[in-house]
């Protein structure tokens, strides 16, 4: 699968799930493009963060990844 198709598959998957879930483990992305090696998926996901499609969420110990702008955003974190 080429890069662009991989990115498209990831965005489609996240958009489909967006109603119930906004943050995903890196491992969830392996299942979206199972034909790619984990290391390549990791590189693709990180590239998508760089180009602003995805964003990281971190608890400090675990990192999750979601579509940029979905779920609670930094500006709203201090609101109840």
């Amino acid at each position: 699968m080429d890069k662009e198709a991989g990115k498209k598959a990831i965005v489609e998957y996240l958009t489909k799930k967006a109603k119930s879930k906004s943050k995903f483990y890196l491992k969830d992305f392996y299942e979206v493009i199972p034909e790619e090696k984990p290391r390549d998926v990791k590189n693709l996901v990180n590239e998508m963060v760089k180009d602003g499609t995805l964003e990281y969420w971190s608890s400090g110990s675990t990192t999750m990844i979601g579509l940029k702008g979905t779920g609670k955003q930094a500006a709203a974190e201090d609101e109840a």
């Binding site: 483990y25 890196l26 392996y30 990791k42 990180n46 990281y56 969420w57 608890s59 990192t63 201090d78």
Partner: protein
């Protein structure tokens, strides 16, 4: 007059030990006075609000911190840990109170100028409170606001030649002992290896790659000053292959009392005359040393490199000359599934630039863990789940006696079906002819 009354916290200051409450109060006072005219970029009363919030937590016995978030610096998946307070109206100074992890230099060697510079930066753009150092080894900046994060990162990288450390599902900031820079026990240059791997694995350090955290730690000898064997997923411990070097004259000087045992570390009290049998020979875990007519003899093949004899008589005994390191894997703290110590994977490996042999082991382990590890599963837990034998398979390492902790304790070598003639199927009627049920 303090902004918030904190009677419960004040009580903590009454003990004989130094108190973090006093430290925070001191910083609060310094910020309020601001004799150096610092242009504070976050609320001046941040430290007072920390104390107020903490007092409320003690009173109510519930936390008011919200942990985690999407804050960070662009392109980095780690280094910043979001923290917010759930009572921002009452404590506006700590409405945002993010933590920043700063990568410590190898061996934690600092110049005073560097320390002053990072403290100045943190006074101006953060709370001024630091943790030197966090458990993983980073310098921890405690408490700043979201708009300051990119500014801090810019100043660190452009003015102080300093990077952020690791957090989240990343390679965490590798940490090491001072190694051969100051320690004669060091079996390899811990700082060189720690620095080289930190530079080589920048991507893993800053961009989430793994199911969970992953820690490297480098100890120059089995004294394990950074406790790598207990705290790191992959621990690199210096060791040697040949014999412990003995200076019989110096050994006699210890026996005769001319040299102080443990380099005088326990000399503040009179422990009586040094007794080599009681203090060294009988404490050897494998009983591999004895005195033969006034000469110390070591059966080196039985030595487990516990370092005790060398620590007691450093002038009499020295590490061997054929040095390298052992790699242990799977140690972790008890967040899930209990604490674990590292298991020996590679008994001996030479430490030679560009460290290709070491990297081959690292990357074999990573590929397996990235593919097979469950979310939030540490390497040690995966080894337990799939077996040590599987780890040997993925790293192409032959099973060897050193892998066995003790006989019949951790058997992990099993026959595979393809290694057994005829496989695991058998003709039961043929079997029953010779064996009754």
């Amino acid at each position: 007059m303090a902004k918030h009354a904190t009677p419960l916290l004040d009580q903590l200051e009454s003990g004989p030990w130094p108190s973090w409450v006093s430290d925070i109060k001191q910083e609060a006072e310094t910020r309020a006075k601001n004799v150096n005219g610092i242009e504070y970029q976050i609320p001046v009363d941040v430290c007072e609000d920390v104390l107020g919030l903490m007092e409320l937590t003690y009173v109510q016995k519930r936390t008011h911190w919200k942990h985690g978030g999407i804050v960070g610096v662009f392109g980095y998946g780690g280094g910043v840990i979001g923290r917010y307070c759930d009572q921002p109206q009452q404590f506006p100074g700590v409405a945002h109170f993010h933590t920043v992890r700063v990568s410590q230099p190898a061996g934690k060697y600092y110049s005073t100028k560097y320390l002053k510079d990072i403290c100045d930066l943190w006074e101006r753009r953060g709370s001024g409170l630091t943790n030197m150092h966090g458990s993983t080894g980073d310098i921890i900046f405690i408490g700043t606001t979201t708009p300051q994060l990119e500014e801090i990162f810019f100043e660190l990288t452009h003015n102080l030649n300093q990077d952020l450390g690791g957090s989240g599902s990343n390679l965490r900031t590798p940490s090491d002992c001072i190694g051969s820079s100051r320690c004669e026990y060091s079996c390899y240059d811990t700082q060189a290896l720690c620095h080289a791997l930190t530079v080589d694995y920048q991507d893993e350090l800053h961009r989430p790659a793994f199911p969970y955290k992953f820690k490297f730690k480098f100890d120059g000898c089995p004294n394990c000053c950074v406790a790598s064997i207990a705290r790191s997923d992959m621990s690199f411990i210096g060791t040697w292959k040949d014999d412990i070097r003995i200076d019989q004259k110096a050994v006699q000087a210890y026996i005769g009392g001319e040299l102080k045992p443990n380099a005088g570390a326990h000399a503040s009290r009179d422990w009586g005359k040094f007794d080599i049998a009681k203090e060294v020979l009988n404490l050897c875990p494998t009983k591999c040393m004895w005195m033969d007519g006034g000469k110390l003899v070591i059966d080196n093949k039985e030595c487990t490199r516990c370092m005790h004899c060398i620590n007691v008589m450093p002038r009499g005994l020295r590490i061997g000359q054929e040095t390298g390191l052992s790699i242990l894997v799977g140690a972790k703290a008890p967040i899930l599934d209990g604490a674990q110590m590292g298991s020996l994977l590679v008994p001996f490996i030479k430490v030679e630039e560009p460290y290709d042999e070491i990297k081959e082991v690292i990357e074999g382990v990573w590929d397996w863990w990235m593919e097979e590890g469950k979310n939030r599963e540490r390497l040690g837990e995966l080894i337990k789940r799939q077996g040590f034998q599987k780890l040997l398979e993925v790293t192409n390492i032959e099973a060897m006696p050193q892998h066995v902790q003790e006989p019949r304790h951790n058997p992990y070598i099993f026959w595979r079906e393809d290694e057994v003639e005829g496989g695991f199927e058998r003709e039961i009627t043929e079997f029953r002819k010779h064996h009754q049920r």
